[in-house]
Subunit: 342 residues, 2 copies
Amino acid sequence: MNIGEIAKRAGVSRSTVSYALSGKRSVSEETRRKIQQVIDELGYRPNASARALANGRTSTIGLVFPPAGNHYTGMQLDFIGSVVEAAAVHDYDVLLSPSGADSDRSFQRLLGERRVDGAILMEIRLEDDRVEHLAELDFPSVAIGRTAHPENGWWVSLDHTALAAACVHHLADLGHRRVAFVNRPEQLLQAGYESAHRGLDGFTKAAAERGLTVRTYCCGDDAASGQACLERILHDDPATTALVTLNEAALGGLYRGLARAGRHVPRDFSVTGVVASRWAETVTPQLTAADVPAEEMGRRAVDLLVERIEQPAAPGRHHLLTPPISLRASTGPATGTSRPGT
Amino acid sequence: MNIGEIAKRAGVSRSTVSYALSGKRSVSEETRRKIQQVIDELGYRPNASARALANGRTSTIGLVFPPAGNHYTGMQLDFIGSVVEAAAVHDYDVLLSPSGADSDRSFQRLLGERRVDGAILMEIRLEDDRVEHLAELDFPSVAIGRTAHPENGWWVSLDHTALAAACVHHLADLGHRRVAFVNRPEQLLQAGYESAHRGLDGFTKAAAERGLTVRTYCCGDDAASGQACLERILHDDPATTALVTLNEAALGGLYRGLARAGRHVPRDFSVTGVVASRWAETVTPQLTAADVPAEEMGRRAVDLLVERIEQPAAPGRHHLLTPPISLRASTGPATGTSRPGT
DNA sequence: CTCCTTGCTCGAACCGGTTCGACACCTCGC
DNA sequence: GCGAGGTGTCGAACCGGTTCGAGCAAGGAG
């Protein structure tokens, strides 16, 4: 069942079998046929470990994401799926590694033990030791998200600043004056997660520009936290008429909170944010939102990574995406006391 | 950066370094210290491919699930997450393989090329060529789900028959007489997916036992299909007062359809089914459902697989789980014309 | 007819680990 | 004082591929 066995049965040397399979040297048509016949008979496939050892490539890429304590969001799911499918197109397998930090054992295994040819990192922080470490080592990697200094890096990222700002402008255009912002959980913000920071930034600046009165909140990644968060919002300022959220997992809870408070969406209260379309379409009314193109991002990340693996000296490349807001049914003109005066 | 380099710098042979690391033969304290010091200095980690080649184990398990066209359900996500975490506990990495059939290229890679020591299969069909093939090869694998002939196999499965029946009994106890069943998509049923078949079976038998009038439907794995399905249900029999669903992804659409039709849940219409708790809690009102213990199932599957890898001769083991129905807010007593006469 | 190229094949070395058998040295018991 | 037994180390072989250099035969050019 190894290459020597094939060689023996085909009456040739091991190297000839190897060349017949790889095509790196010419092999006579007759020999090739004979070898192929033996291979088909025995169902032989070359051992991946041996091949990896010999030519220094594993044909595997690592997908690194934080161990979220079984709290993966729908967006992460979409990324995983699209990365796996895109990698299959390039004949790469995908190894999952639940590592939040440079020092995690699983991360060390991937790199130190050379289990993968390259890595895709998710859930990037503004200052991210994983990204820095990989850059120093010149290890092929692509980030989904970008650090505070993304200039020469390899990454695919949403422009959360612009997206949050677009949500604000959308609401301001509809006449909303008092708007809340629902961010990812407190600990993620404190850890420096880039989407949480840039989203907050974009929201705050755009709101200031439009002269809105705002409050910002952090919210756990689940429905119960969403509901609690919404109660806090209405308690802190009952005149609030709209919110922007980056927190997909809290969405169901936010909606429930609004229903409990007797606020009809979108008549009494508008909701928008940054959410993958298949989740935006799950809630009722369907969410007007900047649709996260997870499938495209995963595919682009893989394409960049493969490119980088195959020519390691190339300069950094990246894609900054700003998907438009899809108008669905969760936002409407402001009514009542908060109608714009000017 | 390889073991020879370490040996040279420590002034010993390669085998001594290997024994110092593995502990399989005794090494003097002094030698061990010297070796460790060199290793620490250089940040050496043994190459995974070389090690896998030498001792025939990759310390990787494969997680095989169908390429759902980027339509992964929340339940699949939960499985993936829990499998990855459980595997990390046993020092295994997880390789994802999007393969629905025995013949898929990615599946062949995993097995033929010996990339993994064992595999966990998801989305099992009643007659599943992957399961049969692996059993014939005596390749260590554990299924999440079970085929039509599960007797000697290794698997972790929900008892969908019992769960669907429990949902029926719950509704019948509340007085519902006309109940619909919302299954996974048509093509999955036709392909023989076990959960769809056994769930349908359990539903149908229990309904007959309780003398209920039922209709059964297949429904796409997304909100729009769920909404369309609900419209069909009410069109086919407007007197329907409850439904049971196995289709988590359609849930949001089913709720939306009910809202559109002016049926209040749970006052006018009861909804229940088999859904992971975190998704059941996302919708409003929260779904009364048999909670899929995805985390536990993933962990048990990994535990079984590791056990099987480590002692290959052991007889088949399995876990059949029947989680209870969690009472939340989506079911209530039947009202109006469909109140039970007897 | 010879020389050179080209096509095809082989043996050997290598990738970076693990493991087996052998051996040198030391200690202990008699 | 000598053999038995244990400890620590080494060299060599092996896992299953890839790749390099060389050799041989056939064919074409001079």
